[in-house]
Subunit: 153 residues, 2 copies
DNA sequence: GTACTCATGATACTCGGTCTCAGTTGCAAC
DNA sequence: GTTGCAACTGAGACCGAGTATCATGAGTAC
């Protein structure tokens, strides 16, 4: 896919700036993550570097999430997916067939949500939107290959 | 709280209509659920009826979710919460302090989301919105008592 | 090079949830 | 009412995702 996503150098730089060590395992994982511009699971990452300890893979993912460099997308079913974040407030479009994740920004929906009657709910402190799609290549190929279909009542 | 929520008779009737047996453990759990109009965790439900087997509690929750009578709300962190569903398409406002869940319907946001440029993402098949709030009673009491704060980038 | 600290990997553990299976029970048919 | 049987239950094993522990290893500052 031609989606832009920050390469491993981006992660390397940011993690270094934040005062964390750029160790061998971390750099290897950053490079692996850069190969998944549309998101990955912890499992997929682990498969790329079987020699790296399980705990280290999860610790590294957590580090990136905590630094805001990677978004954790909790699907309604199954393991969460992670995707490099472009920065700023955004939401995600998730393909229900292949799991590909794309960021999107949509200011209209932000302002509309801003008009929600806070008084019926309390103080609004945030929101989260996920849009479920069948992505371009899944529509083209017409084959279901990946995740379970999502029920969206 | 004065929120209306269908009582246990509602669940009883619907589950019966769907051709499932109204057994003792199920009826007991329906009654327990009716006591949580703003949502519950599997754990909380289990505590109400320690004599009911773990598996049965989870099986019953799953049955209700599958029948669309209960919504599963997967918080970004921690155990999912469940809440009796009012029916139809709706979203949830979740209190980040006490975990209370309220349904809301907001047709404006539906139509705005409908205008999302499908071509940049593929075929839109659904969406999910969660609004994070501090609910009335948590704002009043000013005390943090429950869930961890939610980061909403 | 040394020291200090952070990071790693092996492994045990937690937690939410499911599977298995023998025993029980709701419920419809008689 | 009794009977028959599939649906259901509870105990406990199991699972998958993730975290805690802890002795060892490797960046970084000097
Ligand atoms: Zn993101
Ligand atoms: Zn937004
Ligand atoms: Zn709901
Ligand atoms: Zn909606």
């Amino acid at each position: 896919m031609s989606t832009w996503a920050p390469g491993s150098l981006f992660l390397e730089e940011r993690v270094g700036q934040a005062g964390h060590r750029l160790t061998g395992p971390r750099l290897a994982l950053f490079r692996a993550i850069a190969r998944y511009p549309e998101g990955f699971t912890a499992e997929e990452l682990r498969d790329q570097h079987p020699s790296i300890g399980r705990a280290t893979v999860y610790r590294t993912i957590r580090l990136l999430v905590d630094l805001g460099l990677v978004c954790k997308i909790a699907l309604p079913e199954g393991a969460p997916r992670y995707v490099v974040a472009g920065g700023g407030h955004h939401h995600h479009a998730v393909c229900i067939e292949c799991g590909a994740v794309k960021e999107f920004r949509y200011s209209t929906v932000e302002s509309v949500l801003g008009e929600l009657r806070a008084d019926v709910m309390g103080q609004i402190v945030g929101h989260r939107i996920e849009v479920y799609v069948r992505c371009g290549s899944c529509v083209d190929q017409g084959g279901r290959t990946g995740l379970a279909p999502v029920s969206t009542p």
